[in-house]
């Protein structure tokens, strides 16, 4: 049993194991903090800045991103202080300047009472939360995509913007993206992610195209089983 710490969130006293983040503790206590880049399966990253909260230990109060700040004894957290809401409004305006269409962003904007961004809108789509990059690295374990560029030119990209040799076409990045920015299409024997084509494996028994060949090769490599084992679909195996 982990050591327990006691903190207060919005005046409520909360007991939680040491090492959890404020965001997780709040979620367990059913206190809502908006967030876009956090996912319990991935290492916290703190990129979207929507989960800002005000913390106070003693006299000094300051703002931190709750998804990367660990709980501590006697911490006083305010998730709805005016200062916090001002920061969140600014953050969502900045995010809307990158993508002012997606319903997930619109919903958070509505909750915060933001109607339109004051900044010029450059429709980029991606909000740089990095969930796809982290998923590819931590969950899949191939690091086929990453960030390129810095500052305003930063973007999620494949190495040298070329065909990613490590990609196994699993589509996890497509699944995890909160704003559905990465396109994926499947047409019988070809799966297309962004604009790269990956051939699909045809089941040796039923003839259905069921998974990308590169993915099956990766399974074969990680499990040590022969490739033939994976060439029949799960239904026929």
């Amino acid at each position: 049993m982990a050591e327990m710490v006691t903190l207060s969130i919005d005046g409520r006293e909360i007991n939680t194991p040491a090492g959890t983040t404020i965001l997780e503790a709040a979620k367990d206590a059913n206190i809502y903090i908006p967030n876009l880049c956090s996912n319990e399966e991935l290492t916290p990253y703190g990129s979207c800045r929507l989960c800002m909260v005000e913390i106070a230990q003693g006299k000094r109060a300051r703002l931190v991103a709750s998804c990367i700040y660990e709980v501590a004894d006697g911490l006083e957290v305010k998730t709805n202080a005016e200062r916090v809401l001002n920061v969140r409004k600014l953050v969502i305006e900045l995010l809307l300047a990158r993508n002012n269409k997606h319903p997930a962003l619109r919903k958070i904007a509505d909750e915060l009472g933001v109607e339109e961004t004051r900044f010029p809108v450059e429709q980029k789509g991606c909000i740089l939360c990095g969930q796809c990059v982290r998923t590819c690295r931590e969950v899949v374990g191939v690091s086929a995509i990453g960030f390129s560029g810095r500052g305003i030119t930063r973007k999620v990209a494949t190495p040298f913007l070329d065909f990613p040799p490590d990609c196994i076409a699993c589509g996890s990045c497509v699944y995890v993206c909160p704003v559905q920015f990465i396109p994926m299409k499947e047409e019988k024997d070809v799966r297309t992610i962004i604009n790269f084509d990956y051939p699909m494996q045809k089941c040796t028994k039923c003839g259905r195209y069921f998974a990308p060949i590169k993915q099956l090769e990766y399974f074969s490599k990680t499990t040590g089983l022969p490739l033939e084992h994976f060439e029949t679909c799960v239904d026929c195996r």
């Binding site: 059913n30 809502y32 399966e41 998923t135 699993c170 699944y175 799966r191 998974a211």
Partner: protein, 307 residues
């Protein structure tokens, strides 16, 4: 989005809100469906559950499987209670006695509680436009009390109250199309799904919960006990139901139809009927009759998506 596999499933929450240790039969796809629905909705939900399998297996006194607020209500008033909870919470929020936490109100029941006994209260709740989600776990008979036929039992299925014999081939009426009944109420969101397609299910439940107004989700849940199939085949049977066109997966958003799991060429319906013991008495003529009806209904659905 049915093509996501191994890795995407790791990104679904590991927290269990419908905890393990319940008393459902081996291979119960309905318990799986409930678990996925609970995962999709998260912690901030109030569940009103009709009598039925899922109530019996999850709440044997003094235990409970539910890690979220859960009310057991009678067959006929599940939706009435769910709408009452919704209206009450709304009033308390308006008076400032409760913080506005975007709680999801979930009504759930089996096919008996939805298509037969609870239909009037469900219809009423749809008509009043409460902001709630209703999930029907359709295992095509009253399984909990020992496989009695319901209006959701498909044509030809043998149950204890529609036994197959010399004169009658089991159930003699066609399955009630609950999803279409829900669509006819002009509610914002109606969907059909199946736990054999977990991502499809989770996405639809999340969408239903996020929509303002009533939403209805119809989940085909294979019942190995009642359908007379081996427990390890439940997921496979669910997939066959979709691949043969017996239970197409689609969603209707504000009257607009969309097939979510597209099956370009349907398998013969016999593939689906054959492994199930409840259909084993069917003659080739009856199978042809079922095939004809399935093709007809599937084409009808296709025509609606083209609108």
């Amino acid at each position: 989005m049915e093509t996501f596999n191994v890795y995407a499933s790791r990104l679904i929450t590991k927290k269990e809100y419908f905890s393990p240790g319940h008393r459902a039969c081996q291979g119960c796809a309905e318990a799986l469906a409930v678990r996925l629905v609970a995962k999709a909705l998260g912690q901030n939900v109030i569940v009103s559950s009709a009598t039925g399998c899922m109530e019996i297996v999850s709440s044997p006194l003094p235990f409970t499987n539910w890690r979220v607020p859960w009310i057991h209500v009678a067959f006929e008033n599940t939706s009435a209670v769910a709408s009452g909870v919704e209206a009450g919470t709304k009033a308390l929020i308006r008076k400032g006695k409760l913080p506005d936490k975007r709680t999801v109100f979930l009504g759930m029941g089996g096919d008996g509680a939805t298509a037969d006994i609870g239909l009037q209260s469900l219809s009423g709740a749809f008509e009043r436009g409460h902001n709630f989600t209703y999930v029907c776990y359709d295992n095509e008979a009253y399984m909990n009390t020992g496989i009695q036929r319901s209006s959701s039992t498909p044509f030809g299925a043998a149950t204890t109250t529609s036994p197959a014999g010399k004169l009658k081939p089991g159930q003699i009426t066609w399955k009630k199309n609950m999803a279409e009944i829900a669509v006819a109420h002009n509610i914002p969101y109606v969907a059909t799904t199946c736990p054999s397609y977990p991502f499809d299910l989770i996405q639809k439940v999340k969408k239903a919960a996020s929509i303002n107004g009533p939403a209805y989700i119809h989940i085909l849940s294979v019942c190995p006990t009642g359908w007379r199939v081996p427990p390890n085949k439940a997921i496979w049977i669910g997939r066959l139901a979709v691949e043969t066109g017996v239970f197409p997966l689609y969603e209707v958003e504000n009257g607009k139809y969309r097939i979510t799991v597209d099956v370009p060429d349907l398998k013969p319906v016999l593939d689906y009927l054959k492994p199930q013991g409840r259909f084993r008495h069917l003659t080739p003529e009856l199978v042809d009759e079922i095939q004809e009806r399935v093709t007809h209904e599937y084409n009808g659905l296709k025509a609606k998506t083209a609108l």
